[in-house]
Amino acid sequence: MKKKGVRFILGLFGIGLILGGFLNGGSVMAQDTIKIGAVLPLSKAAFAQAGEEQRRGLLMALEEINQAGGVLGKKVELIIEDDTGEPSVGIAAAEKLLTRDKVVALIGGYSSTITFAQLNAIQRLEPFVAWVGASSTKVEHEFGPKRWFFHYHPWDYHRQSTIRDFLLTISPRPKTIAVAYEDGIYGTTSRDYVVKYLKEKGFEIVFDERFKSGSSDFTPMLTKIKKANPDVIYWVAYAGDTTLIMKQSKEIDFNPKLFLSVAINFPQYKDSLGATGDYVGGVDVWIPGMKLQETVKWMEKFKKAYPGRTPEYWVPLAYTNLLTVVDAIKRAGSTEKEKLIAAMEKTDYNSPLGKMTFKKSEEGGLHQAIDEQIITQWQAGVSHVVYPASKATGKLIYPTPDWKNR
């Protein structure tokens, strides 16, 4: 009886496997889609906000594309992998998308450090890459000249030259600057450019140190900076660090004339800081309040898809990322790499961030999409563009009132 039972079960297993094989085979044949792969940071705390924002943008674009019938008569399949904030995992994810899933384009990206590691590993495959992340010029120097690499995000010098030009417009001109930066290549490359640009124009750097992103306590560093008494504190960090730096600056009563950072328009900024976040300035790519026609139209779509949310620039950027790639596929009439590259080079697309075309960039890049930045400042819980004058929606408040006077 027992032996019979065992054989019966084994038999069921066997039939199950065979049937499974047929079913899979069937669905493979029906699965004729155009595969695009994205690697995003979805689980590391310091990066996850931007990663999630990108995912929302990609999904918005994917739905639009597939509802309109896809491209070249097929639906677009988007495969998203999580790099977990680790270069080794990012490499594995990119390799998997290119070699196992055989995606026609690799998109997404965020951290400069991880990007550098990934591109290093996959360059032997010469894949078609339309990359949204990375601002460190280490990436530009090494991979910018590669014909298969297309890059959207501004490079560090675009940010830092905007910071310099902005500081030069402030009256009375600030004299002393404290620079604090996270110790990955995002922070160190930014610091190298900003220190160079500021020194050239006669600013005095009174503090210049790195810190570990994700620290729980910045009070020792802030105490040291307070001692140096700078007019402006400029820090390069990720969202979680910025939250703590502002909270702890208030705790130790540190009152520079201006708090200045990078990308202070992440969605949780207001919720995490409240009034403590006011008067902080930051260099940024785009904010929802920009007055471009495409922005206004896109914001309507966003509000329908994600009611109650405020997008950071990663959402429209990722949205544009997928749409421009699919647009290139359409114009190329094929997913063949050489034709894709040629079509991508001729991109002329009206995106919510403005017109997208690919041009050469200053330090060796062949295909760069965005090169202009803005400066925003939080005023009474609203983010205003305060520089350049042509795009401004508000006036800079300088100097920042002391904590006790707010």
């Binding site: 689980s43 906000q49 570990k212 620290s215 009070t219 040291k224 949780q268 904590w403």
Partner: protein, 292 residues
């Protein structure tokens, strides 16, 4: 001599030590009573932080009030964790115990990530940024309260261990569990209670983490690394030693951060350098083990 900066550094160090001590208490208790290093302790702190966040976001409960509530919630979460995962391996080789608690830690981190995503969550209240000006020194209100609560918890724990019956049972069991059993102490119940209390302490310290910092699934991991450093500094299983070790770590991080060149970069890694130095010089920890 810049007194203002020096005193401020001193204050910063003492205040962060409060948070570290609160986190380390439960870990010390479990190690002292059961001899097990609970690698999942940090995740219990993380769960406490999330419970405070959700109590605040969904029910509007002030984080200071939710300290005992998060403590209680984690006490009840700790009991089944002990019963179904720790108890079966009490007599196993230390490596197995280590692997098990590490496994629980990874499981809880990933569970939190799936349930609540990896975005950091902050709790801000009307008094969040308030700070007191004591002469030349500025002391953040929430940090000061955290420090006072940590000291209070330590005192209560010591009183519990020396005056209360179940507490004294815990001390007896940690010294010799066979003899304790022989004189009628229910060793299993004592272990269960100890783990529950330790989890409750983790939950309460998680509430403090949620107010001072922000919470995300990996916050427990980072804090437990510091807690291990404190264990070694203060003596494994030594409760007052935990407070003492926290002060050393907090002050070292603060002074290195403020005074060492490139100090801000070094400060986070100091805990590891301290661990290495102390293990080489005095392996039982600066204050000695309870079991000495």
């Amino acid at each position: 001599m810049d007194w203002a900066s020096f005193l401020q550094s001193l204050a910063n160090g003492i205040l962060i030590a409060g948070l570290y001590a609160a986190v380390t208490l439960g870990l010390t208790l479990v190690l002292g009573v059961m001899g097990i290093v609970n690698f999942a302790h940090g995740e219990l702190v993380m769960l406490g932080a999330y419970s405070t966040f959700w109590l605040f976001t969904l029910l509007g409960i002030d984080p200071m009030l939710s300290i005992p509530m998060s403590g209680l919630i984690l006490f009840f979460i700790g009991l089944p964790i002990y019963r179904f995962t720790i108890r079966p391996i009490l007599k196993d080789p230390p490596l197995n115990q280590l692997l098990l608690t590490l496994g629980i830690s990874i499981f809880l981190q990933n569970l939190a990530m799936i349930l609540w995503k990896a975005d950091s969550r902050a709790v801000i209240t009307s008094y969040s940024g308030m700070s007191l000006h004591l002469g030349m020194v500025h002391v953040g209100l929430t940090r000061l309260v955290t420090f006072l609560i940590a000291v209070t918890l330590t005192i209560f724990l010591i009183l519990f261990l020396y005056k209360a019956r179940p507490g004294r049972a815990m001390r007896a069991v940690s010294e010799n569990n066979t003899a304790s059993w022989l004189i009628g102490i229910n060793v299993q119940k004592t272990y269960l209670l100890a783990f529950g209390v330790a989890s409750g302490l983790a939950g309460a310290s998680g509430a403090l983490v949620s107010t001072i910092m922000y919470t995300f699934p990996m916050v427990g991991f980072k804090l437990s690394l510091k807690a291990f450093c404190i264990l070694i500094l203060g003596g494994l299983g030594n409760i007052p030693g935990a407070l003492f070790g926290s002060l050393i770590l907090g002050l070292t991080e603060s002074f290195v951060g403020t005074y060492a060149p490139e100090g801000s970069g070094w400060a986070e890694g100091i805990s590891f350098m301290l661990i290495m130095v102390i293990l080489i010089i005095k392996p039982t920890g600066l204050a000695g083990t309870r079991r000495e």
